[in-house]
Symmetry: C2
Subunit: 237 residues, 2 copies
DNA sequence: TAGTGGTCTAGACCACGAA
DNA sequence: TCGTGGTCTAGACCACTAA
């Protein structure tokens, strides 16, 4: 189906092509630019704007003199993904058990990274996360209550990132710090591992348009979780 | 200085602006599009093409109705960086002690990821890496001897990525898998840590234009090394 | 030779922000 | 009101690839 978007022709073209190639094999040809010009009755620059976006997303690949082709799927470079999305992508069933969800006063550390004043209200949400019923991770998330008033009303959301998206606050940028460590006794009990077992600690700071919305610290079982990260080079431009 | 690039006007505009903003404060205004149109005597679409590239690089930020501004510097999203570069960026002195450098026959695993046939020659380079004289990491790198003939002649290079760059084979894409583990006895001795201490294991697969050039496995001391990764969202497009 | 993407022109109208 | 970036047009010539 053609996405109907009022006014923005390049968006219409882009979404048309996106759906056209959604199930296509890598390497198969996409419509040529002039073909899309004909089909949509728009200028070629408009078509190029649409294709540019898909190329930037890594979905298409241009080959001068030949055509535009469906790119080989490779891990999306540097996308901010949530635990929920990540587990689904691996074919696992993500679950989440809330251990704690309340409003606290921001301490100095949280206040600084969330860009708040000490003592400001913050949402503290602690969850035990499972994949296919096995514990994988304990996560403490801190959210700015100022940006998310009434966030916990009516219970905790299923997916944090879905909830943020619904409020127009899905992170546009995030930074993780990743280190290895030995599980504490508390963590070992929650994650059902031996004390002394290795864990992966990931601290995330996530911004939406330069506003800090989420700070979290996650502790993953080392034997059940491998983090995958894709990089791209600054390709000369 | 104005970069002189024959024929490609958008490149000339782009490099002019890049140098103009190189030392500018974040938030300071860049030249407006119409101003650049005047200065270079080109069409506005050409200027936009130049600015688009700098925005994609994260150097500039457009604000509709206001202007174009120098973006806040933030960790470059998803850049492929080497150990050497990473340590320098942290203000540490990177050193590297070669423990082993020789040509071996590719086993089935290495052959698969390097896209070679089993038994093909591969370069195996094992290094103990230090920062400010303290051991940080043991790395085993495997390189395709087919792509890098005579790589080890005349001694081992100082920086792997510099050596690859010199041959036009700097990785354009890489994927890391990251997990926590407990050090083996050998690793503990090399890294000067207790057996049973936590380590971070990073396996990297690096491509240059879809050709596999490097596969490596690194083991980092957990107490001296934290990995930082920046992400950007698929911003709606 | 025909088709492709890469580059470029010289305009246009719009929505938005600041004064 | 004026300047900004966002979108769009209807062409053009080029280098390259494939037949």
């Amino acid at each position: 189906m053609l996405a109907r978007v009022a006014g923005l022709k390049h968006v219409a073209v882009r979404e048309y092509v996106r759906e056209l190639i959604a199930d296509a094999q890598p390497g198969s040809p996409a419509p040529s630019e002039r073909e899309l010009v004909q089909r949509f009755g728009v200028a070629r620059m408009t078509v190029r704007q649409a294709i540019d976006a898909l190329v930037a997303e890594g979905l298409l690949q241009r080959i001068p003199g030949k055509g535009t082709y469906v790119a080989k799927p490779r891990g999306r470079v540097g996308a901010v993904v949530s635990f929920t999305e990540e587990m689904k992508a691996r074919g696992l069933l993500p679950e989440s058990q809330t251990l704690l969800a309340r409003i606290e006063r921001a301490g100095p550390g949280i206040a600084r990274v969330l860009n708040l004043t000490e003592g400001d209200p913050v949402i503290h949400w602690r969850r035990l996360r499972r994949a296919d019923a096995s514990p994988i991770c304990v996560e403490d998330a801190y959210l700015s209550e100022v940006l998310l008033p009434g966030f916990l009303q009516g219970g905790t959301p299923t997916s944090l990132y879905d909830a943020l998206t619904a409020r127009g606050l899905r992170p546009t940028w995030a930074e993780d710090s990743i280190r290895a460590d030995i599980a504490t006794a508390d963590e070992a009990e929650l994650l059902e591992i031996d004390p002394g077992a290795a864990v992966l600690r990931v601290a995330r700071r996530a911004l939406c348009n330069d506003k800090a919305v989420e700070v979290s610290r996650s502790t993953y079982r080392a034997d059940r979780f491998t983090l995958w990260v894709q990089f791209a080079s600054d390709n000369g431009h």
